[in-house]
């Protein structure tokens, strides 16, 4: 690059330098594709079932709820916040709906509302949790990590409280729909998940609202000075994330036809791992929805392969973790400093 500097007055970066940086930025989006291909090949060696359509649909179906959480967390991370409480909302939102709608005799709900109310109640709980989070974080200026950590504990506690620790069964039909219906022969939850991701890609990539998320995450003062209503955008993002978590909870309860009082426990670790491996920066303003999708897809493909391979149960955890760490290190090599 020295030669570009020799002509005085043309100290501009050479086109190739800029182009290379650009290409890297785009590549980062695809950084996991090689890893996914490798896993696919390994999987096929391990078991010929792996690449069969029904197994791939299985993978997509079982990851669909957590993928929606990853999408929610991605939105929050892009604006440089964090929402740990998503994992509790996954349980609480459908839990409250079940509590209110499951008849007294059948399960141990209160039966206060007819079954048709369950979906609106689930989403309303999502909105409520989001509003409380946003109040603490935006209005009172508290640190998001610690507010949502507190909320995680509180919400989990509330679900244990209302359920008495028991599992809600005999959910109303409307709660089961998303988790059980098939559209065009593919589970509805797979469609919902893919559609939400498609919407996320469009909104974050091709609308000015989405761009304002990156601007806020990158430099909130600059975003404010450029006329972006930063607080309003943050409110929308935090509440949307909670609603998405409630929706994920609805899908999960539908698929399992029940709401366990531990539903969602521990998900947040997977969600963060997927988002970060997928190229979302914890420092805000970086990463794409597509990248996040490849992140969670990779993790679930790995789990599927480990299950098919019949790895001894006691070593699954260590293997899974090691693969995550390796994926992380690799994504740094292929995609530049992904993690900052």
């Amino acid at each position: 690059m020295v030669e570009t500097r020799t002509a005085p007055g043309t100290s501009s970066p050479s086109a190739t330098g800029g182009g290379r940086r650009l290409a890297l930025a785009r590549l980062r989006d695809l950084a996991l594709i090689p890893a996914i291909i490798v896993i696919a090949i390994v999987g096929q060696f391990v078991s010929p079932v792996f690449l069969r359509g029904d197994n791939l649909v299985n993978v997509l179906q079982t990851m669909s709820e957590i993928a929606v959480l990853v999408l929610a967390q991605t939105l929050v991370l892009v604006v440089k916040k964090m929402d740990l409480s998503l994992e509790s909302t996954v349980g609480l939102a459908p839990g409250v709906a079940a509590w209110l709608t499951v008849p007294v005799g059948a399960g141990h709900g209160l039966g206060l509302l007819p079954g048709g109310w369950s979906v609106p109640v689930t989403l309303a709980v999502g909105v409520l949790v989001g509003v409380v989070n946003a109040l603490f974080i935006i209005r009172f200026g508290l640190n998001g990590f610690i507010v949502t950590l507190g909320m995680l504990i509180v919400l989990r506690g509330v679900l244990t409280g209302i359920s008495g620790g028991q599992t809600f069964f005999r959910l109303p039909g409307s709660m089961l729909y998303l988790g059980t219906a098939q559209w065009l022969g593919v589970p509805a939850s797979v469609w919902v998940c893919l559609l939400l991701f498609a919407a996320g890609i469009v909104v974050l990539g091709f609308t000015s609202f989405g761009r304002s998320l990156y601007a806020i995450g990158g430099n909130v003062d600059a975003a404010k000075a450029a006329g972006i209503r930063t607080d309003r955008v943050l409110w929308i993002v935090i509440v949307t994330a909670s609603v998405l978590a409630a929706l994920a909870g609805l899908m999960l309860s539908g698929r399992l036809a029940s709401v366990a009082s531990a539903q969602g426990d521990g998900y947040i670790f997977t969600v963060f791992a997927a988002a970060v491996i997928g190229g979302i920066s914890l420092n805000g303003g970086k990463g794409t929805v597509f990248g996040a999708f490849t992140g969670i897809l990779l993790l679930f493909m790995i789990q599927n392969v480990l299950t098919l391979a019949g790895v001894p149960a006691q070593w699954i955890g260590a293997l899974n973790g090691a693969i995550i760490l390796i994926a992380l290190a690799l994504s740094r090599v292929t995609g530049g400093k992904v993690q900052d």
């Binding site: 100290s11 330098g17 000015s208 761009r211 990156y214 990158g218 430099n219 404010k224 006329g227």
Partner: protein, 500 residues
């Protein structure tokens, strides 16, 4: 004299950052007792040389010697600090620590058992700051100090190591006139005691004021070294830019019947300014001058919608935008260049195109969608109009040099064809060439019928104003028409009434 080895000599120093060559076989030689100026445009490699000379970074190639001996190992920080002290361009104050601790970081006074004696640390800090007449409680957190005090803290600390060679990288960028005078008195004291200085500044008059020798860097290379007296200002600028300096053409003022585009009346903001009233007409350029903390920045930010006045009104082009709302101000026709481009100006990892069009989402496509081609079209025309040096609109702004970053910020301010352009310190930290260019743009905008409000303490910025309003301690105390003398304006900004 001749036998004396130079205090420091660097030869053949090359330093690369990825594909960027920051220094290319650069050299400098600084003799004992000299005050040596280093000038060059933004990104010429000055600060990089500083980090090489202070042992923060190892050069890729080249040799640094102190008094004829090779420089110490990079890890041996103490040895470096005995040889050279430095005020870095980027703040090295730690905001979460107290003033006292910042002054004595990593060299606390320790008592028995190696434990820090905080009492002694505080007393020494107090004594040190007293010699600089800096009036602060040494127990407050450094982050709570204003910019100027923080800068003095930085300077006082660097000079307190007792090194005989001191590097000052743009120490005056954050200071107002009185503070600069105080700093220079102190430097002159030390000069008399034989201390050697390397002084970096974009304010060329300062070079002529206190320096003996000047070295010019351009495009990562050493261009020339000369006695200050032998190098007239125009030649110096030519050396920096690689061409002759252009002279700004005179501009006609606004016509008498031009409509008012900004009318501020009776505006007050507690703690910042009181009862401020003024107006700007179409085609007029109005300056808001004042020392740091005078309230001029806050007035400008109020007009731009970043702050809401507690009393009074702001009317832009006949409408009253909602106070404290930037979007409302934008809609009313305000274009805005904020005070600090790094903090408020741009989102570093976003592209030039995105940064430049952040204020005009509605023009990029229907229903909030962004038409990538239309956006890049906008950005290309900006790049062309403002002569931004960049390979294309997709480049992240972080990849641009300082001057070009400021151009992007300016481009965004102009993107919505503003009726009123509000600029705060528009040329801060920008080299002479870029400065001329940016100010020329401002004049062009005024010519085309927009009003311009410039809040700055930089005389060069204010010189093109039709009128300059002087803000002192939150009040507009004077209005000075075009054609003032520097000392007249400076005196007004310092609150000294020359007319008695």
């Amino acid at each position: 004299m001749v036998a004396d080895p130079p205090v420091v000599e660097a030869t053949g120093v090359t330093k690369r950052f990825g594909s960027t060559v920051a220094l290319h076989e650069a050299a400098i030689r600084i003799d004992r007792g000299q005050t040596h100026a280093l000038v060059g445009r933004n990104g010429a490699g000055k600060s990089t040389l500083v980090s090489v000379l202070t042992g923060l970074q190892a050069p890729d190639a080249g040799v640094v010697t102190f008094g004829g001996e090779r420089a110490p190992r990079l890890a041996d920080r103490d040895a470096w600090r005995r040889r050279v002290a430095c005020v870095y361009q980027r703040s090295t104050i730690i905001p979460e620590l107290t003033v006292a601790e910042n002054l004595f970081l990593n060299r606390h006074d320790r008592g028995r058992g190696g434990l820090i004696r905080w009492g002694t640390v505080r007393r020494k800090a107090r004594e040190l700051l007293d010699t600089w007449s800096v009036d602060v409680d040494v127990r407050v957190l450094a982050g709570d100090l204003d910019v100027e005090r923080r800068q003095f803290l930085e300077i006082a600390r660097a000079l307190s190591f007792g090194a005989r060679f001191i590097i000052l990288d743009e120490p005056t960028a954050q200071l107002d006139g009185a503070a600069i005078a105080r700093l220079f008195t102190r430097i002159e004291d030390l000069q008399r005691q034989g201390v050697t200085f390397l002084f970096i500044s974009h304010h060329l008059q300062e070079v002529y004021e206190i320096c003996d020798t000047v070295t010019v860097f351009r495009d990562a290379r050493h261009v020339l070294t000369s006695a200050v007296g032998d190098l007239p200002r125009a030649e110096l600028i030519a050396a920096m830019t690689g061409g002759a300096a252009g002279a700004g053409a005179a501009r006609r003022g606004p016509s008498a019947e031009a409509p008012t585009v900004l009318d501020v009346s009776g505006a007050s903001l507690r703690g910042s300014y009181t009862d401020v009233s003024f107006h700007v007409r179409a085609g007029e350029v109005v300056g808001l001058a004042g020392a740091a903390n005078s309230g001029r920045v806050e007035v400008a930010e109020t007009v731009a919608g970043l702050r809401a006045a507690t009393a009074g009104t702001v009317e832009v082009d006949g409408s009253r935008p909602v106070p404290g709302s930037v979007p409302a101000a934008l809609r009313a026709g305000v274009g805005f260049v904020p005070q600090d481009r790094h903090r408020q100006g741009y989102v570093a990892q976003m592209s030039i195109a995105d940064n430049g069009t952040l204020t005009i989402p509605d023009r990029l496509g229907p229903a909030g969608l962004i038409d990538g081609r239309r956006r890049d079209g906008f950005a290309r025309s900006m790049i062309e109009k403002l002569a931004i040096k960049a390979p294309g609109p997709e480049l992240p702004v972080s990849g641009l040099s300082g001057g070009n970053q400021q151009k992007v910020v300016m481009a965004r301010a102009l993107a919505n064809d503003p009726k009123l352009l509000v600029l705060i310190n528009p040329t801060a930290g920008v080299d002479v060439r870029s400065k001329e260019f940016l100010l020329g743009k401002v004049e062009e905008v005024a010519e085309s019928g927009s009003g311009v409000l410039i809040a700055s303490d930089e005389l060069d910025d204010l010189r093109l104003c039709d009128r300059v309003l002087v803000v002192f301690q939150g009040r507009v105390v004077a209005e000075i028409p075009r054609g003032w003398h520097d000392h007249q304006l400076v005196a007004a900004m310092e609150g000294v009434d020359l007319d008695g």
